[in-house]
């Protein structure tokens, strides 16, 4: 029976698949609604089980065609797969919400979406101002009874603020100058301090003294890089007896 259902559904699904464009759907609920219409019954009478099959087949086909599926389509597929098994398995007492309840919920959501879609179509089928009926082309205008009327709507105000808030040029940002020892200065300093020291000395002892903790961090970082650079160019020797030991330097 179930296989029959799938075969009934498949041909039409396949036809559409050829020019399947997932971007054309307004989300998984929209896709479900389109599939539901293929059952050609009132949504209130629709078989949720059959619809679940249709959707899962559709998504499987889309994957086969390597169509990019947005995450929410896959989330819906996972949820429907769960719903399907819940509907088919014997009912477990006390399970909340029940499979029937979930199915009913889905059916209601589809009905509500369809109702709104039809409402939109019916709205635009009416006699529209500016298209079917026309307002006075050149009204003379009334002087307002109380004050001069100003042509400014709430939308204007919101839009104006959106424009300002969006412009981002409303504030000047100043980068605070932090005390730093530049790499060049560190190299000069180190070269001078090491001088012609022939004994190994701990790198830290050669650094400029400071009480400013921020400046100190900069000094350590810059001096370390400076020491590496000076060692690379053969201006000093760098040594570390073991992994955690302090770095030592001496003149070449």
């Amino acid at each position: 029976m179930k296989d029959d259902l799938i075969d009934l559904v498949r041909p039409s699904v396949r036809e559409e698949q050829l020019n399947l464009d997932i971007d054309g759907w307004e989300g998984p609920l929209d896709l479900l609604l389109q599939l539901a219409r293929q059952q050609k019954v009132d949504l209130a009478q629709i078989s949720i089980l059959q619809l679940t099959e249709q959707y899962l087949v559709y998504i499987a086909e889309a994957k086969k065609l390597r169509l990019e599926l947005a995450a929410d389509y896959l989330v819906m597929a996972a949820w429907l797969a769960y719903l399907k098994s819940a509907l088919l398995l014997p009912k477990e007492e006390g399970e909340e919400p029940s499979a029937e309840e979930m199915a009913l919920r889905l059916q209601l959501r589809l009905q509500r979406l369809e109702a709104m879609r039809e409402a939109g179509a019916r709205l635009f089928a009416r006699d529209l101002a500016g298209e079917d009926v026309f307002l006075r082309g050149a009204p003379e205008g009334l002087s307002a009874v109380t004050k001069p009327e100003w042509d400014c709507s709430l939308y204007d105000v919101m839009q104006a603020y959106g424009r300002l808030a969006g412009r981002g040029q409303t504030r000047n940002y100043e980068v605070k100058r932090r005390p730093v020892l530049s790499l060049d200065d560190a190299m000069d300093w180190l070269e001078k301090m090491v001088g012609s020291a022939v004994e190994w000395g701990v790198l830290q002892s050669f650094l400029p003294k400071t009480l400013d903790p921020e400046y100190r961090r900069s000094v350590i970082a810059s001096s370390f890089v400076a020491a590496l650079e000076l060692a690379r160019t053969g201006k000093l020797l760098l040594d570390q007896p073991n992994a955690d030991a302090p770095l030592r330097i001496k003149a070449t």
Partner: protein, 197 residues
């Protein structure tokens, strides 16, 4: 023709937007029966090429709908609204006031940027306060401009709104679920429930 009626006619004719009873009344002698005058005037215009209509409690003249084929201007085709915008508009109109989250729930998809903007720019949708729940989300509702554009006297005239209400399709989901469950369980109760409404 009655002098007061002439004034009502002239005021509405000169106005640049639909007028409320108050604004019309301000031009009339005190205690003039504004509503009755409007109804009388509307009747006298009924057979004409111009009609007097009510939109959301405000009144305006417009051309008779049956002349649309003659008056339609080929040049000024208004831009086509996206499906998302049309659906969003119906959700707002039929459920108002609603939050953005409610629109998204009904449509089953998140609202892309600019959809509400388009509807507000057209003057059909406006912010309408906030819902007093955590986060105080902004509410949206339709405007008189919406009613004018779609030729609706009031929101009660929205196509099919009574049927949708009766079917519970405009209720919050929880209530709709309850209703649907009852109907599913007791199909013969259906008619009784309808009678009660």
């Amino acid at each position: 023709m009655n002098e007061t009626l002439r004034i009502v006619e002239a005021v509405l004719f000169a106005a640049e937007e639909p007028l409320s009873l108050d604004v019309i009344g301000a031009h009339l002698p005190e205690n003039a029966p504004v509503k009755a005058l409007l109804v009388e005037l509307a009747e006298s215009y009924h057979p004409r090429g111009i009609n007097l209509v009510e939109r959301g409690g405000k009144w305006l003249f417009q051309t008779a709908p049956d002349l649309s084929h003659i008056l339609r201007r080929e040049t000024a085709r208004p831009r086509k609204l996206s499906r998302a915008a049309i659906e969003t508009l119906s959700v707002i109109a039929y459920h108002e006031p609603v939050t953005r989250a409610q629109v998204e729930e009904i449509r089953g998809v998140s609202l892309s940027k600019g959809t509400l903007d388009v509807l507000m720019e057209l003057g059909w949708v406006r912010p309408a306060g906030r819902r007093e729940v955590p986060g105080r989300p902004l509410l949206y509702a339709t405007t008189t401009g919406f009613l004018v554009h779609f030729g609706l006297t009031s929101r009660r005239d929205l196509p099919g709104i009574q049927e949708l209400k009766a079917a519970g399709l405009l209720d919050p989901m929880a209530e709709a679920l309850e209703l649907a469950r009852e109907e599913a369980e007791q199909p013969d109760m259906l008619e009784d429930a309808d009678d009660q409404e």
